[in-house]
Symmetry: C2
Subunit: 223 residues, 2 copies
């Protein structure tokens, strides 16, 4: 049984989370401290998985009704879309600690991120429809080898393209600009982006965002 | 105490609601029947108000930091933004019944919609910052007199413009096109849309959508 006070926190933390998902709360740095336990429960007790399932099912229902061509691609973001870094965030306060680039890079280098199960299902279904998949990642070029191995280990054996950030060719630190620029290149080389799924709004807005976009939940960080 | 089964419904109905708010589920006709009780509780037990408060506070925090000019406007949608039709929907199955235009028009003609309390606060704060407000409504020209009285009765005494649908000038039934076209006119006559709040994604996407947009929750209908 919750006390009145815990209940109030749950209500307001649920509002914070909804505000994030509906793109009302932007440019935030960390999860509110009072919401740490709420967010941990959200991620671990089934609601996060259920929310992800609803999004992935909708993406599949959409894709299977399309008249497809052989230049059609479905774009998947990587972190918190194909792969989960939850083990890292569970050890770092579930988003309430300021982002630690060094510690996170070390975690990434371990190559131990696991597949998000609902995205993995969607990936297999998209492939079974004959649609090519492109992975558009925030990871850097020097992290690519580890990422390739991590993706294969996690259950993603194949892809049309895996795009990572090359600091030499795109110096900016802006996800939105980077992803838009890469999508422009994809369309320029003849692909048609029929779908695009990510956990950040910066994945799914901007130029050539895709005929339809899908926002997976992510209450851990904003980029 | 919930049974296991009720709990599962709550989890999946929460995912349905999040899918709607994050614009993953689109063009839906009615609330899933199994979610009727869940949606009623959501609306009546405090979460809906808390979610609305988070959005309206963010809109105010944003607006108060701006360098304002005297041509700045903040756009408010009307139904389920300024005014609530909850008494109607409570009598019509909380969104699980197919939309009944005749019955809804009759309710609208009664002029008894009440102010959504968090939007009312935001309205007063936006006015106190010296920003003009424009109400961009789905209501028709023949419903305007009732709407004016309803708005004043509900606590909205003043506005820069109240825009309603004139079937003679815009025959289409598409909210997105209608609202985009009206915003183009506003910008054409010199206004600068610094903010735009509504409960439907069709209120806040498209041409001149506003420098920043805010999505209020609405699990009752999609338009």
């Amino acid at each position: 049984m919750k006390t009145g006070s815990d209940s109030d926190v749950d209500v307001s933390c649920a509002s914070w989370r909804l505000g994030v998902e509906a793109h009302n709360l932007i440019n935030w740095q960390t999860v509110p401290l009072k919401c740490q336990e709420y967010i941990a429960s959200y991620l671990l007790d089934g609601q996060y998985r259920s929310d992800s399932k609803t999004v992935c099912r909708e993406a599949y229902f959409y894709a299977k009704k399309l008249n497809l061509t052989n230049r059609d691609i479905f774009i998947f973001d990587v972190d918190e879309t194909l792969l989960s870094n939850l083990p890292y965030f569970a050890n770092h306060g579930f988003g309430v600690e300021p982002h630690n680039k060094t510690a996170f890079s070390k975690w990434v280098a371990s190559g131990e991120a696991f597949a998000l199960p609902e995205t993995l299902k969607l990936y297999n279904k998209i492939l079974s429809l004959g649609i090519k998949v492109v992975f558009l990642s925030e990871r850097r070029l020097d992290q690519k080898d580890v990422l390739v191995k991590n993706l294969k280990d996690a259950g993603y054996p194949t892809w049309e393209k895996l795009i990572v950030r090359d600091p030499a060719s795109f110096g900016g630190d802006d996800t939105f600009e980077y992803k838009s620029a890469e999508r422009v290149k994809l369309v320029g080389s003849g692909y048609r982006i029929i779908g695009n799924i990510g956990d950040q709004w910066s994945d799914i807005v901007g130029r050539y965002k895709g005929f339809r976009t899908f926002k997976l939940p992510n209450p851990l960080y904003y980029s």
